[in-house]
Every structure is written in C-alpha cells, then in structure tokens.
Chain length 387, copies 4
C-alpha cells in the first residue's frame, strides 16, 4: 500500500469524500424501512447527525431544537455563548464586519475570558427546555471547567482539539490533560477527538472515550491543510478509525461509536461517511444555513481566535430554510442540503441497508467527480459567465 514518492520517502494514498461513490447491490428497500437509530454514550437518537460546537451553528435554542428533532447539538463552552451574557450583539458584529477586519475582530472578541457562571447558565437553559445538554471544550478548557460542567449536569462532554492524543508533551509549567483520568472523573460520557488514525482511536477508546471524533483538516471553515500542511482525507480516516472501533469491540465487547467530523456538506456526504464506517456525523455548515442558526447566514471556524496563528475563514453560507427542513424536510432545495434524514433513508433504501450497521457494509467505488473541461464550461454558463 506504500507508494514511493521519492528515493527517501514513501507515502500512502488517502481518499476523500469527493473521490468515492456508493454502489447499489442486489437488494433494494423501501426508505420507510430504513432504521437510522444510533447510540452515543447512554443516549439513543433517531438521527445520527450532530451539530458542530461552533458559534455560528449552536446556541441554547439550536441545542434544544436539535434535541426535539431527533438529533443533537453541541455547545462550545469556550465560544461567544460563555464569554458574553448577551451574545446577540456580538454575533451581529461578526456577521456584519468587513472581510478585511474579520480576523482582527475575532481576536478582539475572543480575548474576553470565558465566564464559568455562563457555562453553568447555558447548560441549565438547555436542560430546562428539555434539550440534551451536550457541550464541548478544548483539553485546556476541560481541565479548567470540567467540575463546573459536571456539577451543572451536562449530558455529554466533547473534548476536542485539532489533534488529541494520549501522549501529549507539554512544557514543564503545564500539566496536560490526562484523558483517561478525565473520563473516569466525569459523571457523563466523554467524547474525544479529533483524530485520524487507527492507533490514536484505539488509545482514546482505551482511555474511556464514549465516542471518537474523526477528521482533521477536511472542513470548509478549516484551513489546517494550507496553514499547517496537515489533513487527511475523510474516507481513509474513517475507514482506519472504524477498524480500530471494530477491533476494540471484538476485544472488549464495548462498542464505541466514531463520528465523522469535517468537510460534510450534503446528504450524500453523510451517506458516504457512514458507508465507510462512521456511526454518526458532526456537521457545521449545513446547520449554519438554518433560519434559527446563531450565525445569521455566516459560518466560521473555531480556530480563528488564536492571536498567534489564526486559521479558519468566515464563509457566507446564506439562510436557506428552517432547521426542520434541513434535518427532516420537506426539502425546498434540490442540492442535497435539505432533508438530510430523508436523504439518508432514501440512500439506505436504494442500497438495501436496513440499519446503520448494514449501511457501513455497502459497496464503495473510487469514482472521482473531477472537473472536466465540459463541466467547467457548463458550470460557467450556469453562473452566467460567457454568452
């Protein structure tokens, strides 16, 4: 599998979502018979889709709505919501600032410290309205706010870094988060990520993860690949990490779901990730387009605020419909961004997959949807260029 890229170096070919397509088999299924249920920690959900812990995507209201609709939303504890008692004017500034001032504004806004009281308040607001309180923090944030989160009664805790590993070297002045200890200490299931390899997935599961997030660098609002050179295409990452999950399950009897995170835009993308082995997916930009989303039609990466190395970009995604339309339909757009559940069920029906486990086994083809001259011409015409 190793390819010689030069005399001194080999590399492995990795595949991205745009490079594959799903192939129907011998059986088809009525979509109504497709069962999309999955379980993360002790929580069962009808829809295997999680809204990303991003400030333009999830606030208290979105978290509650997503819970009601059968999905899940994760609130970022280190974002706008827990820095500002009234996030509304802040969000408005983000969505109206000029492109050139965006990075500067973000650095300014995120310089205000996180207020522990707001963490408690947001979690309680979600729970009081009947939502599932899933929250997210970086490893450093988890160390600082873990106890508050535990006491506030959060249901799920996502600890996310660009790359999380069980072997992190820190300066002597810092104590890196002991992930295994943290999982034991927390009263609720802890989901860890992001990672992209078999070994790290296995280590995180051994450390007690109730779920592992998979994906580094492929997201629309993520510029890791340009800035750091890092990024592994999702298909290969998911297949590798799914293999770790299966081996861990075989060994321990403990089934820890893996969640594809980053770079997913359409229903087709979600279907492909599950077909490559994911149990669920985490998506940002499709939800940022909901009328209820806090981003007012904008979407931005959470890596942006770093004063050292701003990454991420603000993208105008527009508002295309209600959250319900996006998640459960009826669809009013035909580009795969409305009725994600319907798309998943229809795809499963077409592929003859009765449940998520069967969907993980469907046949996959490498079939690059690369641009050809004809397609560019066609696209250019659709965009109104030329005559």
């Amino acid at each position: 599998m190793d390819i010689q890229i030069g005399r001194g170096k080999t590399a492995r070919r990795a595949y991205g979502i745009d490079e594959i397509a799903l192939i129907p088999g011998n059986r088809t299924l009525d979509p109504s018979l497709a069962d999309t249920k999955w379980r993360i920690g002790n929580i069962e959900r009808e829809i295997p889709i999680i809204a990303s812990a991003m400030d333009g995507v999830v606030d208290v209201r979105m978290a509650v709505l997503l819970s009601e609709l059968g999905a899940l939303g994760v609130l970022n504890l280190e974002g706008i919501q827990c820095r500002y008692a009234d996030p509304q004017p802040i969000l408005e500034r983000i969505s109206t600032v000029g492109k050139d001032e965006f990075v500067g504004l973000m650095q300014e806004l995120y310089a205000k410290p996180v207020e522990p009281k707001l963490i408690e308040q947001r979690i309680q607001e979600i729970k009081q309205q009947g939502g599932i309180a899933a929250v997210s923090a970086t490893p450093i944030g988890a160390t600082k706010y873990g106890e508050i989160v535990a006491n506030a009664g959060a249901d799920l805790f996502f600890v996310q870094a660009t790359v999380v590993s069980t072997a992190h070297l820190a300066p002597e002045s810092q104590t890196p988060l002991d992930l295994a200890q943290f999982c034991r200490d927390m009263p609720m299931p802890v989901i860890l990520g992001n990672c992209v390899t078999y070994d790290v997935t296995l280590n995180l599961m051994k450390a007690g993860a109730a779920g592992v997030l998979v994906g580094i660098g492929p997201g629309a609002a993520c510029t890791s690949r340009g800035v750091l050179g890092i990024g592994i295409p999702q298909v290969t990452a998911i297949a590798d990490c799914a293999a770790a999950r299966d081996d861990y399950y075989q060994e321990t009897g403990n089934y820890v779901p893996i969640i594809a995170d980053g770079g997913l835009i359409t229903g087709g993308d979600i279907c492909k990730c599950i077909a490559c082995g994911a149990d669920g997916v985490m998506i940002g930009s499709p939800f940022a387009r909901a009328a209820e989303a806090p981003g007012n039609g904008y979407h931005w990466g959470m890596a942006t605020p770093s004063p050292i190395l701003p990454r991420g970009t603000r993208i105008r995604v527009g508002t295309t419909g209600s959250l319900e339309q996006i998640l459960r339909g009826p669809a009013q757009l035909d580009d795969g961004t409305h009725n994600l559940l319907g798309a998943l069920k229809t795809s499963m029906g077409t592929l003859g997959a009765k449940d998520i486990k069967e969907m993980q086994q469907v046949e996959v083809a490498i079939a690059p949807s690369l641009l050809t001259e004809g397609k560019v011409y066609q696209k250019a015409q659709q965009l109104g260029m030329g005559k």
Copy 2:
C-alpha cells in the same frame, strides 16, 4: 482490482465517460458502410438512440417524429402528459418560473393525479400517427396502469426506478411489483432499469426483461450523487452489465440489449458507451434542445416532484435546431450535439467498425480529459473573462 481505501474498507476503481477515449485500429471504413441498426424487443431501428422518458423531452409529437427519423422516444406515463389533458400551459409555467420557485412549482404540478384515460389517449395518439408507442412508468405506476397500457396497445413498456432490483423489501402494507410476473403478464416487451451491476442485470434478464437500462447517478439533470452519495460512472457500469448480457446470451441464446442511460451529451459520449458494450443509448438533454421538444429549451429531472426529497435540477439547455438536425444532420453546431447519427457513423468508420457488435469491440484508452491550468485559462478567455 480492489483498492484499500482504509484499514476497514476496500473499493473498486470505476471509470466515467470523460475518462476514456477510443483508439483507431489498423482498419478504417467509409462512414457510409457503417451499419448502426439494432433491435429492442421485436422492434428494429436504424438508430440506437432512445429519447428519455422526461417531460421536457418526449410528448406525443416527439415520439412520432423520433419514430419517423429511425429512432425511438419514450413517453412518461406519470408525467405532465398523463396528468393534464392540455399540457401546453403547464409546460409554459415550468419554463418561465423563477429558479427559486421551481421546486415548489414542480411539487404542486405533480401533485395532480395521473388520469388513466389520458394514458390510453396518449398511446393511441402516437399509434394513430404511425409512431412506435414506447411508454414508461415507475414500478408502482406499472402495477397501477399495466393493464391500461396493455389494452391501449403500447409497443414497448419501460419500467424505470432509480434502482430496480428483483429483491425489493417493502412495508407489509405494500406489495412490491413482481418483475418476472409483470414481464409474463404484459403482451409487449418490457424493458427494465436502471441498474449498474452484473448481478442485477442478470437477474432482470432472467425475470424476462427485453432490455436493461444501465446508469445511476451520472446524468446532467440527476443529483443522486450529491443527495444520496450514490452513482457509478457509466463506463464501468456498462462494461459490467454488458458482461452479464453476454453471459446470459451464451447460456440462453437470448440476446437482451443493454441501454446506457444518463450523462450522455455529445455524439462522442454515445460512441464511447457503445464501445464499452452498450447496444443503444437513452439520452435526454440533447433532445431537449430540439425546436420540437416540449421543454421550451429547458430540461429537468423526473425525480424532482418528490415532496420528501426533491432531486434533479432544471437546466436551461436552449434550442439549437430541429430534431432532424440533432439526430441526422446536417449539423450547424460543431460541439458534437448535432447529427448524432452522422457522428456515430463517422466514428465507426474511423475505428473500422462495420456494425454495433464490432463497435463494442474497439480499443479503449483511459485518457482523462482533466482540466489543466492552461485549459482553464484558454476557456476563460473564450468566455470573455480577463482581457
């Protein structure tokens, strides 16, 4: 042939039409000597091209004209033509509605039920004018309207679903169409599709298909790949299904043609599909550009009307000439969309293929017409961008 795309998953490389080119051999042939005849069911046609069962492509008039010109057109029994006694104003609304209201309008227009009387009427209109009455329905429509179609004396019956299989699981309240029973019951040849695999092709032939449609996801007005993640490039699908046809013929002596359907735009595309093993092709958008086409210069997918999951897009294809020019020339455009028969004959001559069976054997190269920097620049200049 299997490629490891990750630790837990293998995939097969599949090829699309834009990735191949045909290679001349040692012999050439005067185009006038190229014989393009083919046979579907009990019907022989000079031109192996079928117009798709789409509302912007085939109405009664087009079906008659196509028959006269040596080809074939399929009328969709579940489209506008059999829902509205006077389809003209309906078609006009479709071609004049704004882009944003298109999906909504389609959902409204296709909510009106199919009228069995109109099915009968349309078939008779075609036959009275001397045309071949080829009609199409979904499996559900075939169950409902099969008897009417049979009584009305249709010549060919196309039963088409995104993916048709002989093993379809339906809810208990529904009885899925028994394809084998249906083929036995119908007095006319039944063509089944679409499929993309060797096994399903073989099963459909065993079920009594008089033809098998090949192609899922590659069409211009089809967004299966984006919405569902499903779609297999045509070249591989055709070659696989052609192998099933050949094996079935070897076993039974019954030659059942396969028809490439979806994603074909130019004469070159048609030539390539036959070179990969197709006996005929079904095309939509090239005919939607005929002055006689019911779509008024627009083309749209038949999957659009679903109120749950609209797929397909309306594309402005324009009107570029008469149906005769498009099918038999003389060509007035040099982009491969006029004189499709002339293109096929010239290609066969250049490749030294005397008939369709020889054309199926010509040499093929993998030769991606991928975009390079230079081509984009050139294209941009042709489109009048830059200086």
Copy 3:
C-alpha cells in the same frame, strides 16, 4: 499494462502532454551547442517545426518565410488558397463573421470547388520565391490532384486524413487511395498521416512514407474527442509510433521521421514531444498568431467545412509578434509562445542533449499539472475576477 475498466472491457492508460515533465540529468550543455537539425525526405532543416496545412496558418508568403527562417510550412491544396484566385477577401470574411454564423459561412465558402490551375500556381509562387513547396491534401484530393502536384514540382507531399490506414474499406463505387502505389508514383517524398498506433505507423512506412504524422484528437481547433469519442493523448501516441520507427529502421536501415501533430502550443510542448520520441512537430495555433499569418489573428480547424459533420472551432488567438519572433526570437512574451527555437535549444542545453536523437532519450516524469483550488483562485485573481 491493461486496466480492467469493467467486467467486460480492459483499457490502457494513455498519457497527454500536460501530464508529463522533463527531468534534467547529470550533464548540462550550453544552448549554443544544441544541434536541432533534422531531415525529412531529402530535405534538411535547422528547425524541426512544420507549420500546419491550415488556412489560417499557411499561404504562399508564410511558406516562403518559414523556409527562409529554417523551418517549413505546408500549404493545404483543398483550402481557400486553391479555391479562390484572390483569397484575401475570403479570409477577411472568415475573421469577421459572427460566432453563430461561422459554421454556415465555412460550409458556403468551402463549397466552391478546388481549381487545379490554382494548385499549380501556388506551388510555383512558392518555388519562384525560393521557398520549399510542401503541400497537403486528403487521400481523395491526392487521388485527384496528385499528377498536377507532381508536374508543378512540389518538394514534399503531405497526405492527411483524420486517420489514415493502409486498410480502408470504401463503397464499391469508390476506389480508395492505394498509399503504396501513390508513394511509388510520386516523384517527391510523401508524408502520411495522421495515425496513433505502432501497427499503422509500421504499415505506412512499409507503404513508402517519407514521414509519418502522429496525433488524432488532441488539437486546440479539433473536436474529434467530443464529436466522435476518438482521441489518444499525444505522449503515448508518439512513444508508440516512435517505437515503430525504430523497429522499422533496425529492420530496413531506412530512418523515417515521425512528426507530432496537434495540441502543441508552447515551446515546452515541442520539447516534450521530441523527448517522447518525435523527430519533428507540426503546429498550427502558435503560427496563427504571427503578424504574417493569413488568419488575421484567428485559427480554425480544417475539418469544419463538412456539410455533414462540422468539426473544429474558430478560436481568436490574436496577433502577438512577427513570425521571426515566434520562431527564432527575440521573445517579447514570456509564456512560451515566442522564440520556439531558443526554447528548444535552451531545453536541450538544460537536459544535456546535444542533438535531436539525444533529446529523444531524456528522462520523463509523469507529473500532472492539474488544477488545485489554490491555482484556480490565483488564476481567477489574475483574470480580475473577485476582489
């Protein structure tokens, strides 16, 4: 080398000019030491570049100028020059007609028959001014005008069809050109083409060709691939045909040059073709940009006039300098289209190749210059799109 593209079909991977790059070796050379001489038939030329037999590229004046500058130009005997005593107003109409009327105008203009007297006259005009009279005709034209061309004293005769083969099946009413007989009958060397395979190259050499043109479908003004599905990337075609030349030479001691024809735009393209085995190249569009070119800044394919199947496109190439600048410099453009001889010499120097035979042996890498996201963005900015 065969790749399974589906169960019923294999294909070979073929490579195009944009997919390769030349790799320097251990030796370099001062460009002044690079010897670019080559020989076609009994004629030796300093520059291995031939101007295509296209109406926008070569007329009498261009043929003479090209001869003086050390290269060669081929006059098309079935083009404007031998249909009209005064081609000037005709060429003007071609370069000023609107895009939509172009194909119609071409069909009209080329309907006027070729005048044998003009053939004689043009050849004599070239020779009287000291030029090398290289002319071109289709196989049918060669049959008709061969004797006139011979009597007029042409120096080289190019017989060109899209695909020329020694085994051409024609209707009984026609007698196809016997290429071997024709080569024997003509008093001057006959160059045959175009072809793309080892076998046909070998057959044409056995038939007496003094040169073989290689290339089908890759040219800028050629739309064979779109219309007919036919076209083999130049790199593979050249390498295959060069192998035939070498084998033929080994067997007979007769060295018959092969000439890469089609799809070459820059000096780099010329260098790559020779590095893959070509002895010389035939180019159109780079010369169509000369101030002296008859096309007035336009370039069009010679396949266009067919009333049955127009192929080819008129491209606005612009006028960028004198023929001398384009061929021998000094260059005023830095995009590889000026000073083609200088580019070839510099490339040979950089690669350490002393002559054309050594240049044919330099190392080649497969190194696709594919478009990436970053490049499109950059290009878009250069074109003034976006901000």
Copy 4:
C-alpha cells in the same frame, strides 16, 4: 516504479506539494517545545527559511531585517541592486509599467552591466548593519565576481542556475565554472543549485557544497515548464535529494543541508517540504508581500531579463503586512501566509516532531487537493460570480 507511457518510453510518477498532506501520529507536542533551529555552513539560524535572491524580495534592508528576525535573505549580485547605485527609481518603474511593456522594460533595465563596486558596497552595507551577508550569482557571475565577493567578506555564497551540474559542456571559447575548484577557493561556505536529482546532489556535495538548493520549475514566477517542458514536482525532488544527503552523510560524516526552493507559498507548503526531507526552504513570493520588500507589492522571476528567452512573469502579490508579521506573527491573515514560524511550530507540535530531523520523518499521505465540481462552485460564489 517505472510506468510505461508508450511502447518506446517509460516514466516515473513524480509528486508535487499539492498532492500530499501530513498525517498526525500517536504523539502531540506543545508548539513551544518545537525546536526549528538549523545550520547552513557555519551559521546557525532559528528559522529554516531563506528569502530568495530576487529583486522584488531582497535588498540590503531586507537582508538585515531577516537576519535580525532569525532567518536569512540572499542578495542577488546580478540584479538591480548591483547594477544601479540608486535602485529605488528602477524598482518603481518595474512596479508601475504596464503588463505589455514589462518584458521589454526588464530587458532594457538588465542590459546595464553589473558594477563590481556596487557588489562590494552592498555586502558591506549588510554587514555594517549587523546582517548576515548572503549573496547569490549565476555560475558565470561567480567566475567574474568571486574574488570581489570574497574580499568584501560575504558570509555565504549561493551559486544558482536553473540547473547546475558538475558536468557542463560549454563552447570552446568559454570555460565553465569548475564548481569544486570554486568551493575550495572561496573563503566562505558555497551553496549550489538548483538541482532535482540524487546523482547531481551527491556530485555537488562531493564538489564541496555547503548546501544544495532543490527545485526546478515549480515556482510561481517561474515558467520553465511551459517554456522548456522542464520541471519536476517538489515532493519527489526533495525526497530524492534528501536521500543523497543522507547517503553522503553516512559516507563522510559531513551533513550538508538541502533547501527546497520554488513553488512554496504558505506555511503548509514549508511544513510539507521539511516533512519530505528538506532542512530548510527558500521562498520568494511570501516575502514579496512584506511592507519592507523592494518589489512594492510585485514579484518577478530573475530569468526574465534574458533577451533571447524571457521566462518568468511579474505577479501582483500585494502588500499584506510587515516582515515580522509574515515571519513571526501575530498573523492577521488566515490563509497561511502570515506567521510562518508559528505555522511550522504548530505543525510540528500537532505532528509530535521535536526538531527538524523528527519533522523529516513524519508520515505523509498522497491526498490530492484536486478541484471538484462542488469546490469550483463554492469558489465561484466566494468570488461573487453567479448569484
């Protein structure tokens, strides 16, 4: 590893920077622990980044500033700085001339001869201000000005040609530079380049190079590939040359760094080159965007001035921040062109690499960031095209 590209020719697949991505391993590291130090000749630097010897990038002031910031800048001895006592008005003309007159102006400006006195003066200016005086010349310039450079006390001497080799054939009237003799004669370390192969790297090291520049044809302001057909993708070139360095070190105990030069734009590009084996990188366009850069927001190739074969292009790169921001941050852009050191440290931390030697060992994936239809559409929208 050899691929048959045709019957007569094989080629090797070479990989470019855009085709790979770096993969995190099992360990992560706090970026503050990442040690980026490297050594070239007898000089140790904190940042393994060298500013290219290009007129729009390095003048005396830039060389001094780069030294202060922990990096290095190379002054081109054959550029504007040593031809004109007052380069300011010259640089202004270059940045304000129209696109069409650019090549002509460059040919005029570089026709003025290099003044040996200015060479001496520039070197002393750098040293007097505490900078490291690294200078560059072509092999011919090195012959002419070597003694002056040595006497002026330059710290590092870069001898650069498009391709430098130890076996250069020159006309009898010329004596090519004997690289080994030159390295022995010079009192300071001599860096040689550019090359792309194992063999030439080894030969240059044996000749006494204190560093080898790697890269031919991949740069933004370099058009070698279009003009000459020459160019090898950086990833393969670096890996090949790194293997030569390692073998040379094993044999001699002498560690000679290799420097990736050309085609690098972002922090991610730098990280990838080191991950493939480079010890340092040389970059032009990122520094041309510094407020302090002499190019006034423009960047152009040094091959341009040739009156025979102008190569290179002037690109408007704009001015995006101070040199310090570009090199050490804080970043105000999120596209990977600010805070290159921060990017490298963060990438090393994410990949768990403690120093440059460990960074050279991280895992690499072939993961083309190719354009897909969706990405072009997205990009087009970002550029404000279409609706």
